[in-house]
């Protein structure tokens, strides 16, 4: 009898936890969306970066709650937690190294490739034709979908 009682208690406990985590996830998502809407009206690069950083932190918090509670990892034995989490530490290197590399490549090109630098400063009215020419056949098959695009005969 007492076994059934603890079983019911445990069930109620789990349901409480699920409700709690659902609310946390919803609230975090709403905050993320609010920040997203707020960011639309902001031009300053520094502030935008700060908001983006906050969104990333909220994203990681959401990921933690999903993995820890929904996927139940927090209640598993330490061995299992370690065997899952330790290998994923590679992401620390993976993200840092590649983003730094991408950033460095942009800086190098801006410094040594005048064409690349110039390209990014030219404002255009409409999408370049260059890519459309590559897809000329496809566009033509679409029948009038993008035929208003100017064709340059060069």
């Amino acid at each position: 009898m007492s076994h059934t009682a603890t079983h019911e208690d445990h069930s109620a406990e789990v349901r409480k936890e699920v409700t709690k985590v659902t609310i946390i996830l919803s609230v975090l998502t709403v905050i993320e969306l609010a920040l997203g809407f707020y960011m639309m009206g902001i031009e300053a690069a520094g502030t935008r970066l700060l908001i983006k950083g906050t969104i990333v932190i909220l994203m990681l918090a959401k990921a933690f709650y999903i993995v820890a509670y929904f996927m139940h990892l927090k209640h598993e034995v330490k061995n299992l937690i370690m065997t899952v989490c330790v290998p994923l530490c590679i992401f620390f290197w993976f993200i840092t190294a590649f983003l730094i590399d991408g950033n460095s490549f942009r800086n190098l090109r801006n410094t040594y490739d005048p064409h690349f630098k110039e390209q990014s400063t030219i404002k255009v009215e409409k999408k370049e034709v260059e890519h459309k020419e590559a897809k000329e056949e496809k566009v033509e098959k679409k029948e009038g979908l993008q035929l208003d695009a100017p064709r340059t005969a060069d």
Binding site: T29, K52, K123, L145
Partner: protein, 226 residues
Amino acid sequence: MSTTTTATTTKLWGGGKSPFDVEYGKLMMWYFLMSDALTFGAFLISYGTIRFSTNGWPDPNKVFKSYPFAAEGVNAPLVFVSIMTFILIVSSVTMVLAVQAGKEMKKKAVAINLILTIIGGIAFLSCQAWEWNHLHSEGAWWGMNPFLNADGSASSTNFTNYFFTITGFHGFHVLSGVVINIVMLIMTLTDQFEKRGHYLMIEKAGLYWHFVDLVWVFVFTCFYLI
């Protein structure tokens, strides 16, 4: 009682039982999800690297600004995608409830929550199908990018290539998740788990489904918010 617990914890590596204290299938599901996390991670990091290495990038709020049955030229950024996000979170919650009901051997509750999860998955896929179709009608596809960079300069096709590849890969995972859940539902309704005496299979399907939700958290943030 407490002495037994201490003895088993200290002897996790003593042999005779899994040191991870889960059944084989669940452990392998975790390892599969880790490898899948690395795949998605590689995709998203590649996207980030390319974005970091270019000067301009299209503004997501100007690209994803419509929703079904909206008037032409409507400007409602983030609205549709937030609905998609909540659909996936809710379907994840019903999946947790299905797993919990399975632990309590409540067949009916398992079936109901699985059906709700499947409906959520199909709703998400329908939303994504609409969005892809809408973007395609605007001239966006692999190799075609009609959107300008946020600063008004010409954009490359990197934006659409990454968007369709990564959301497509995620959508394919959702599709497989729905199929797995349908299989679980059939197995539940045909009493397969009752005969086995446990619903452990639902837990593995649940892990996969939560992972799909987890990936969406990252995809949603990387493509729509930042």
